[in-house]
Structures are given as C-alpha cells and as structure tokens.
C-alpha cells in the first residue's frame, strides 16, 4: 500500500511540473535581423580545387543544398501561418514522443501493481523514481531555456586558402550539381607567369 502511495505521489509530482513548465516564451523583438536569429543555419562541406583543365573559376552548388536554401528563404519570407506549416513535423514528433513517454509511465505502473517478485517491484519503483526525477529536472531546466547556440564548425584546411591581410577576388560561374552537400570552387591552375 505504501509503495502504491509512493508511486502515485511520484506520478503526481512528475505530471505537475510540466504544467508549470509551459510558460510562454518572451515575444521576439520585431527588429530582429536574420543574423540575430538563433535558428541554426544549414551547414555543408566546401572544397577548393585547382584544376589544370579549367579555363574559368566555377562555383558548384549541390542541388540538395540549393533546395534547402530555397526552403529557408521561403520560410523567412512566409507569413506566420505558412511558416507553421513547414514546421509541421516538429509538433508531430513532440506529440508522438509525449504519447509514448506517457504509455511508458502507465506500463511501468501496471508492472509494479501486477508483479509478484519483490525485487522486481523495488527495482521498477526505483527506476520509475529516477525516470520521474530526471524528467522533472529536465522540464525545470529546459522549460523556457533559449535554443542552444549553433556549434562552431571546423573550417579544416580551408583556412589555408587565404592569408589574414589578403582578400582574394575574381569572377566565377555558378552551376548546380548533383553532388551531395559539397560546395566546390574550381579554380584554373596557376601557370608560370599567369599571375
């Protein structure tokens, strides 16, 4: 009986916190520029290649990245309603995750109520306690926390392409290719005296 009361209290504790957790986030300032937006920008690999057979500089844009960038631009320019539609999966994910986490709690409760093995019951009660406590702490911590900053990407050996005080410039031709996720800048190879 004590164990059941304990489990009921824990369940109440676990479900009470989310009710307080869902406080509306502060309204974003209308003057926010895209640079100030916290949404992570698409990332891709960049390759600079020097070719003997190239006659002009050429920037190759992967088709999938172009599609992604196009979607980003549409999202930025769309109204609130259409922007919500492009994010349709995120609420779906949240709902499915919520349903299954609730089912998990329900099944754990049924297991504790039905099992005859004392050890199994104690282990399940401890697991449920840890689960509830972790969940509650996570709700408390992440409830209205800001979205994480996008992590800094490693530029790899691209840093070697320029020197700190020199700016490289020139005219390039832009083409869309089927290569996945790799932007490629093909530059004609430097021949003797061509600089």
């Amino acid at each position: 009986m004590k164990l059941r009361l304990c489990c009921l209290s824990l369940a109440l504790f676990a479900f009470a916190l989310p009710a307080f957790a869902d406080i509306a986030a502060p309204r974003p300032t209308p003057t926010a520029t895209p640079q100030q937006s916290r949404r992570p920008l698409p990332a891709a690999r960049m390759l600079i290649e020097s070719r003997n057979d190239a006659t002009e500089a050429r920037l190759q844009i992967p088709r999938n990245m172009l599609r992604q960038l196009h979607a980003e631009m549409e999202r930025d320019s769309a109204s609130g309603a259409s922007a919500a539609a492009t994010h349709s999966l995120r609420p779906t994910q949240t709902i499915i995750a919520g349903v299954f986490l609730s089912l998990s709690l329900a099944f754990a409760g049924i297991f504790i109520a039905r099992t005859r093995a004392r050890t199994a019951r104690q282990a399940a009660a401890i697991a449920l306690f840890i689960f509830a406590a972790t969940g509650a702490l996570a709700f408390k911590t992440f409830a209205n926390a800001r979205a994480p900053e996008p992590r800094t990407l490693d530029a790899g050996s691209l840093k070697l392409a320029t020197t700190p005080d020199t700016e490289l410039n020139g005219v390039i031709r832009v083409e869309v290719v089927d290569e996945h996720n790799v932007f490629k800048l093909v530059v004609p190879a430097t021949t003797k005296g061509s600089r």
């Binding site: 299954f100 998990s104 199994a120 691209l158």
Partner: protein, 351 residues
C-alpha cells in the same frame, strides 16, 4: 601404502600443474585482449580513415560468416516452446531489413526532404524497439522464474526518446552495436570458462579508458575529408559527422573504427578460439551443429549449403570491394543490418 602415497603425490602435482596452467591461460587471455584493444586504439587514433578502409575490407565479410556459424550452433534442432519466439525473431529480422534497405530508395523516389526522412527514420526505430520489446517479453515468458513484462515500459520510454531525435537515436545504434559482441563474449565465458570471466571484466573496464584517451587526444583534431574524397565523406557520414557537426570528424571516425575493430576481434578471434579450446569442432567443421548432427530433425544439406554459399559471398564481397570500394561499402552496411538484428534474439536466448 607406498603406491597410494605416490598416487596422491601425483594427483597433487597434477592439480597444481592444472591450476598453474589455468592461471597461465587467464593471464595469456587478458594480455592478448589488452594488446589487441591497445593496438586497435593506437591505429584508430593514428590513421582512422585508412584503418577503417582496411578493417572493413578484411574483416567485415568474414565476421558475418562467423556470426552465422555461431548462431546456427545455437539454433536448436527442435524449436519446441521457442517456436513462436523464433518466428517473431526471423519475421522481424526480414521485415526490418527490407524496410531499412527500402528507406533510402523511397526517399529518393519521392524526393523526401529532411522532415520526411526524420519521420521515416523515427518510424523504423520505433518498430525496431517494439520488436525487441516483444522478444524480451516472449523470452521472459519461457520461464516461470522471470517476469520481463517491464520490457514494454522501457520500450515505450525509448520510443519516446527516439522521437525527440530520431537521427541521433540511429547514430546511437551505430556506436552501440559493436559493444553487443562483448556481451556475447561475456555469456560465452560464463558458460564455458567461468574462471576467465574476472580477467575479462577487468579488460572490459579498460575499454572506457581507451575511448577516453582517444577523446582526450583527438577532441580538437582537424576535420577529416577536407579534400572532398567520396569514400572519406561516406566514412565520416557513417560515423555521424553530419549529425554531430560540432564534434571533430577525426574523433568520430576514430571512435567508431576502434569499436568496430573490437567487435571484429570478438567474432573472429575470441569466440571461435574459445569454442575450439572447449573441444568443439573448428569453425569450418559443421558436423557438431545441432541442425546437422540430428539428421531426422535437422537439415544437414541445407545448413552445409548455406555456410558454403555464405563463404562464397564473403569472397564475392572482397572482389566487389576491389572493384568499387565506396559502392560496396554502402551496400554492405545496408545488408549488414541483418546481422545487427539477428544478434538480438540469439543474445536473448543466452540470457
């Protein structure tokens, strides 16, 4: 009287020799295991891409053959009460494998974007977890001493967690799968060489140490594949460089190839050698398999043909790797999902 004393003396000497021999065996096992793990960590940290290419080429195919041989040795000739368990297990392996292979094809055919792909991966992961939960529950029902109905509560929690980040969950499987081999080895030692288990657990405890050393040494290593090599891109993607974009791809590939090498070592060295030391047949001799030995209930010809065909597939895989390594690698890691899935029911049977 004198003869009895001689016999007693001989037995004591024999016991002492046996005990020292056993100690030498345990020490040799521990030293060889540690040396292998250390060598794997060193090579994985030093030249991850090249080491990954070489290990997959050399060991990927053979380790699948050895797994098949191991599973056939554990498949009873008469399924009895395990019939439903194995039916669900094999149906699940077939269905999940087909779904896994079909997922990229469907995504390509219908030009899926990121959201649809996330949905597809989330559904596949959920089906995998629910299938595992069903197997755990069925295995629990085979004994009155076990109540494993907690499996559904755990499975639903995992499905919930999966839906929060499906791609991350899949990546978790990529890194967790190599460790399953260590669980198999533990169960095998418990059955056949319990005296070695303590040394094994000590060796196992050093594994996080090696992973920690790799992470400490490579945490700010420069990214791999900056030269845009297609194969390097595939390897880094497999290790999760596109999902964990803030983590060095050098570190990710090193960690993955280190764990994969440990996995290959267990299946290709530890388990076959343990079986041979126990007095079982060499892996290439299939006469001791229950399905071959029991001619009335088993299928000796079918099993022999299956193992010969699997060996031919290993040779074919080597040729395919030589012809077109990147494509074969993609194809292999898609079809290799079969052995990843098949490990679950056979591990459960050993618990």
């Amino acid at each position: 009287m004198e003869r009895a004393a001689d016999i007693a003396g001989f037995e004591m000497r024999g016991t002492a020799t046996g005990a020292s021999g056993a100690r030498r065996g345990v020490a040799a096992f521990a030293l060889v295991s540690l040396a292998l793990v250390a060598a794997a960590a060193l090579l994985a940290g030093w030249m991850p891409l090249r080491f990954s290419i070489v290990t997959v080429f050399l060991f990927a195919g053979p380790h699948n053959w050895f797994e098949l041989r191991y599973f056939l040795a554990r498949l009873p000739a008469r399924l009895g009460r395990s019939r439903n368990f194995f039916c669900v297990a094999f149906a699940g392996v077939a269905f999940l494998l087909v779904a896994y292979a079909a997922l990229p094809l469907v995504a390509h055919a219908f030009a899926w974007g990121g959201d649809e792909w996330t949905l597809g991966v989330g559904v596949w992961n959920s089906l995998l977890i629910l299938w595992l939960a069903a197997l755990v529950w069925m295995r629990g029902r085979q004994s009155t001493r076990r109540d494993w109905s907690w499996s559904f509560a755990v499975a639903f929690a995992l499905v919930g967690a999966n839906w929060l980040a499906p791609q991350m969950f899949s990546l978790g499987l990529v890194y967790l799968h190599p460790l399953v081999a260590l669980w198999f080895l533990d169960r095998q030692l418990r059955r056949t060489r319990p005296a070695w288990r303590r040394a094994y657990l000590l060796c196992l405890a050093t594994l996080p140490l090696f992973v920690g050393l790799l992470w400490w040494h490579l945490s700010d290593a420069a990214a791999l594949a900056a030269d845009g090599d297609a194969l390097a891109l595939r390897i880094t993607r497999h290790a999760g460089s596109e999902i964990l974009q803030g983590v060095s791809s050098y570190l990710l590939v090193s960690t993955h190839v280190f764990l994969e090498t440990v996995h290959y070592s267990v299946w290709l060295l530890a388990l076959p050698l343990l079986a041979m030391r126990r007095g079982d047949d060499a892996p290439w001799r299939v006469g001791s398999l229950p399905l071959v030995r029991r001619a009335q209930r088993g299928w000796p010809r079918l099993i022999r043909a299956l193992l010969v065909t699997a060996a031919a597939c290993v040779a074919l895989l080597w040729l395919a790797f030589l012809a077109d390594y990147p494509t074969t690698r993609d194809l292999y890691f898609t079809l290799a999902m079969a052995h990843v899935l098949a490990e679950a029911p056979f591990l459960l049977r050993m618990l």
